[in-house]
Symmetry: C2
Subunit: 209 residues, 2 copies
DNA sequence: TCACTATCCGGACTTCGGTCCGTTTCGTCT
DNA sequence: AGACGAAACGGACCGAAGTCCGGATAGTGA
């Protein structure tokens, strides 16, 4: 995992040719406008037409660059996501390499919960539809969790368990627990910790290596 | 739990007055048409206009009875849901009362997975938007799981753990695992079993009572 | 039987995500 | 510089969920 490059957002598969100048300019305009609007009004109150207009760009252009609303939200989050991946792959323990897998899993979930707390609306927008599971960022999270689980508990179905655990960090559930059920953030973190410690033997020691 | 009445669908909060005759007739027509169309074409290919037309009813009426598409899908599923609740509350072990809590949790998840396998599209439609967590059926599932967890493991945060475990049975994740990742149903069941056994000490014995 | 009213009906309308396609612009090759 | 093809632009257009409100109707009380 530590040799993996961070994975950026790939809103639309760009084959190989470099981006044309106007395209790059418009992408920047759009991202800038979207960031501003989402920030001002909350992601829920911003339509794609709003973004297009604020960016001074046609709607077709908006959808050509970012294939969907969910994808645009993800792109706006990509900078943060990039930093997060960096911290996970090359950062300090316990989030980064060096700590025992259970510790790292706990730190991972806590970091995710902090991100959710700070950007729940945006993450909610980014997870609507089938977007969540097909997004490259999710693939990275899954891979990370899968590897940690496999390390902590060889023999378990780490692939599947990773998805199951990650589902507990979904934005929809988070918003529900936080806003409707009004659970404090700390409680969610404790819950995650307990969940991980149940899934992984706490008796694990720091990997020798 | 065993004394709780089954909870039916409450698509729209009807205060107390009994339903007017034409209203009841139209509800029936709508449900009938929806059931048929969903069955014929798959839930994804049926618009609300389609349902309204097939039911011989205006669109306004459709939305007056069932507040949203998700709610309509849930209503169509309500009969099955009712039977499921019955089996959980008063049926045979291990799904019904009598088996140790871990066993019942496993059986519960397996039954949910079977339902998902049979009606994934409909469940997917029923879970779009914030619908899932606010639906009465979800409240019943959560209560059931919460009580079993509390019984199996006093002292744990059963409320939260219930939601976390249930998130692993969400329709969106299911469809993704099943169709995109192409995991066999049995693997998902095994995964659920493992998840439950990790969350609950397997050393638990049938409740003394 | 006949008002009378609360409830319900229905379809036109709005909003919004997403698509299409004729037009424009960029970069390149001569 | 001029021409040419690929790529990008933009806004009209579409389908579908959900809202609104003027008109119809079922139950009620006299």
């Amino acid at each position: 995992m530590e040799n993996v490059k961070t994975v950026f957002d790939l809103p639309v598969i760009e084959s190989d040719a470099p981006e044309r100048q106007d395209a790059a300019r418009n992408r920047e305009r759009i991202l800038c406008a979207a960031r501003r609007l989402f920030d001002e009004r909350g992601a829920g109150c911003v339509s794609m037409d709003d973004v297009a207009e604020a960016a001074g760009v046609g709607k077709g252009t908006l959808f050509r660059r970012f294939g969907s609303r969910a994808s645009l939200a993800a792109a706006v989050l990509s900078e943060r996501e990039r930093a997060f991946q960096e911290a996970v792959i090359r950062g300090e323990p316990p989030l980064g390499p060096g700590a025992p897998p259970a510790e790292r899993l706990i730190a991972f979930g806590e970091a995710m919960l902090d991100t959710l707390e700070a950007h729940s609306e945006l993450l909610l927008a980014a997870e609507t539809g089938p977007a969540r599971y097909t997004h490259p960022a999710y693939a990275v999270h899954r891979l990370h969790v899968t590897l940690l689980l496999a390390e902590a508990q060889p023999g378990c179905d780490a692939e599947l368990l990773a998805d199951s655990l990650l589902s507990a960090l979904g934005a929809e559930l988070f918003v529900y627990l936080r806003r409707v059920r009004e659970m404090p953030l700390e409680r969610l973190k404790d819950g995650w910790r307990a969940l991980v410690l149940r899934s992984v033997p706490a008796t694990e020691q720091p990997q020798p290596a």
